[in-house]
C-alpha cells in the first residue's frame, strides 16, 4: 500500500487498438482475464490504471477484480521499467557504510521508491540484496556498471553520466 508515484500514461493509439483487438478476441472466452492481462502487458510493458480500466470495461469486470488478480501474480507489473536502472546494494556491509543514506538521497532526487519508475520513464530504482561486493561498500549499480565506495555527494555527478 502507500502512495505510489503516478507515472503519466503514454499509451499510443496503436497500442490501444491492439489491446481492443485482444479484448474483442477474448470477450467470449470464459475466464480469459489472465490471457488478456498477459497480452496487455506485452503491448504496454506494464499494467497501469488506464490499461486496467480498458480491460475492466471491455470484459465487464469491476476494476478491483482486475487489480486483485494483477497484484496476486508476481509477473504482472504496475510500473514500467526505466531506461536506466539504479540498484542500491542493501547488504550489511553497504548498509553500515551508508547505503541507506544513498538510497534515501536517490529516492529524494528521483522522487521514486524501490521498484518504481520516474514519470519520464528515465529512471527505475531498486533496493537489492547483497551483491557480494562488500569490499566496495557502499555500492550502487547503474545499468550493470558498479560505483563503489561513494557518498551522497557523489551521486549527482554519477547520475549526470546517464543524462
Amino acid at each position: 500500500m502507500g502512495t505510489a508515484v503516478k507515472i503519466p500514461f503514454k499509451g499510443t493509439a496503436q497500442q490501444k487498438s491492439e489491446l481492443y483487438k485482444v479484448i474483442e478476441e477474448n470477450a467470449n472466452v470464459r475466464g480469459a482475464l489472465m490471457t488478456v492481462l498477459q497480452k496487455a502487458q506485452d503491448i504496454y510493458g506494464y499494467l497501469p490504471i488506464q490499461v486496467q480500466e480498458m480491460i475492466a470495461d471491455g470484459l465487464g469486470l469491476p476494476l478491483e477484480d482486475i487489480y486483485g488478480v494483477v497484484t496476486f501474480y508476481a509477473q504482472f507489473s504496475l510500473y514500467p521499467r526505466g531506461r536506466n536502472i539504479v540498484s542500491v546494494c542493501m547488504g550489511t556491509a553497504c548498509y553500515v557504510k551508508g547505503a541507506g543514506d544513498l538510497y534515501n538521497d536517490l529516492c529524494e532526487r528521483l522522487k521514486i521508491k524501490d521498484g518504481e519508475c520516474t514519470p519520464d520513464g528515465k529512471w527505475s530504482l531498486d533496493a537489492c540484496r547483497c551483491v557480494g561486493a562488500c569490499g566496495l561498500a557502499p555500492l550502487i549499480i547503474i545499468n550493470g556498471d558498479p560505483y563503489g565506495r561513494i557518498s551522497v555527494s557523489d551521486i549527482a555527478e554519477i547520475l549526470k553520466k546517464y543524462d
Binding site: R30, G31, A32, L33, M34, T35, L37, Q38, G68, V69, F72, Y73, A74, Q75, F76, G91, T92, A93, V96, K97, C134, G135, A137
Partner: protein, 628 residues
Amino acid sequence: MLTVENLKKLRDEQRLKMGIRFSLEKNDPAVMMDYKYNVLVCGDTGCLTSGCKAIIDALNESVTKHKLEKDVNILTVGCFGICSLGPIVIVYPGGYFYGECKAEEMERVVTEHLMGDTPVKELLYKETVSGEEIIPFAQTGFYKKQERNALRNCGIIEPDNLNEYIGNDGYMALAKALSEMTRDEVIKTVRDSGLRGRGGGGFPTGLKWEFTRKVQSEQKYVACNADEGDPGAFMDRAIIEGAPHVVVEAMAIAGYAVGADHGYIYIRAEYPVAVKRLERAIKNARERGLLGKNILGTGYNFDIEIRLGAGAFVCGEETALIASIEGKRGEPRPRPPYPAVKGIFGKPTLLNNVETYANIPPIILRGADWFASMGTKKSKGSKVFAIGGKVTNTGLIEVPMGITLREVVEEIGGGVPGGKKFKAAQTGGPSGGCIPDIHYDVPIDYDNLVEIGSMMGSGGLIVMDEDNCMVDMARFFLDFTVDESCGKCAPCRIGTKRLLELLDKLIEGKGEAADLDKIEELCQHINVSSLCALGQTASNPVISMMKYFRDEYVAHAVDHKCPSGVCKDLLTYFIIAEKCIGCTLCARVCPTNAISGKVKEKHIIDPDKCIKCGVCVEKCKPGAIIRK
C-alpha cells in the same frame, strides 16, 4: 488427415529412418541409412543458456563447408539429462557423447569423426573413455541405472517434428485406445499399472480417472498442470520441450477415458520455449487430425487450450490452478468438492501433471503389467528427479522407484564434489523434507519418503554437504513459502511468517532455547490447520531438519553458534597470529576499519566493529583469517 491405419504406416516408415538413433552399431543392417550420421544437439532451455546455439551454428557451418549435408543430419533435440556437461553433442551411430562443447571444437568433430570416422577422444565425455576403449554413454554411471520412460523422447527426437514423435511410437497409444479399447478398459489399464500422481501428492492416477468418469455431466474437462513451481525442479519443462506431443496425446487419451472434449494446459509463462513448442504441437496435431473433430477418423472429438500462469507457486495446488484458469486470483478452496466433481467452471475436471501424463502412452501401449513390473510394492514405474546442489553430475534423471538415495547421489550423481561429506538431500522442494545420511539406503518411493519425514514432491532433489547449515536451509525454503503463500487462510498467511521470524532470530544470534519449542509447536499447528497442501506442508523442511539436525538448532539457539559456518551473525573472525605476515591488505579492504595493525606486525580484528562481510578472508594471501 491421419487415420488409425495410415498412422501405423507412417510410424513404420519413420521408425526406419530414425533407427540409427537407437542403434549402437555402425552398420546395423536393420537400420535404413538415409544419413551416414545423426548428430544430436540438446536444445533444451538449460543448454540454450550454456550456449548450444553457437554449437549448432558451428556444426552447420562446418557441415556446409565440407559439403556433408547429404551424409550428416544435425538435429536439435530435448534434454539428455546431464545438464552440468552442457552444451552436449551426441553422434549416432554409436552414441558418442561430447560434453561441455565449444563452438571452435566442432570443426574437429566434423572432420575427424564425421569425415574420418574417428571419434575425437579428448573431446568425448571422459566417463565414456577408458584407455583405448570407448563405451556408449548409456553405460556410464550417470545413465546405467536410469529407466527413461517419461523422458523416453527427450534427446531422441526433434520436438517440433510430429513425424519424429510418431516414429517413436507417438500417438500409437491414442490410436490403440480409440480403436481397440473401451473407456473402462483404458481406465482399468491406468489403474492396474499402479501409476500415482507425479506432481507431488502421489494419488493413484487410475482412481482419479475413474472418479471423473463416474460423475454425470454434459461438460467435463481434462487439465494438465505444467505450472512447475518447485525451485530446482524442471522435469515438466524438459518433457514438454523434448516432446510436446506426449502431453497432447496423453490428454486426448484421458479425455476419451473420462468423457471430456476440452482440455486446458496450465503452463508457466516463464517457460517460453515450452509454450511455443506446445502451441506448435497443438496446431500440428489439429492439422493432422490428432486433435479437434473426429480424431483419427474414430468420431472422438477433443481439443486443447493453453492458459499461462503468471508467477504463483500456489497455482500448483489443484483448486488454485483451477481458479487461475478461470481468470481469478490463484487461491485454493477447501475440498470436497474435489475437481473430479466440481472443477474448472464448476464442471468435473481431471487434472494431472505433465510427468504423470508422460507415463500414460507407454502404459497404454505396453500394458499395465509392464509398468507395474518396475518399482516397489506401492510405488510403480520410474520417477524423474532434478538432481542438483552439492553433487558432481547435476541435471535430470529418471530412475525406477525403489532406488536408494545412495545410488542416486553416489553412482548417478557422481558423489559429492571436493571430497566433502554428504549431509542430507532435500526432496519435495519447499514442501518436502531432508533425508539425512542415516537414511542413505532407504529405497525411494512415495511411502518411504513420507515415513522418514520428506515427500516425493515433483522430484526436486538437492544434495547438501557439510558446508550447508540446516537452519539456513530451512529458512531458505520457508522464505520461499512465505513469499508464495496465497494469504487466504490464517495459519499459513501469518503462521509461516512468524515461523520465518523465529528462524531469523536463530540465524541472527538472538535465539533462546524456548524458541525451539515455539518453532516446533508452530510447525505442527500450521501443518494440521492450514487450508491447502501448500500450508499443510510448509513447515516440512523445518520439521525434518530439526528432527535430524537438532544439535545444529540447539547450537544456534543456545550457544549462538553456526557449526557449518554459514550464518554470518553467529561467526567470529579471527586472525591467526602465527600466519599473519603483516601485509596490511586486510586492514585496507575492511569496510568498517575493524582491523588494526602496523606493517609487518600481527593484525587484530575488533569484533565490535567487524560486520563479517568476509572481504578480508578473500584478500588474505597466507590464509591467516578464519571464521568460526
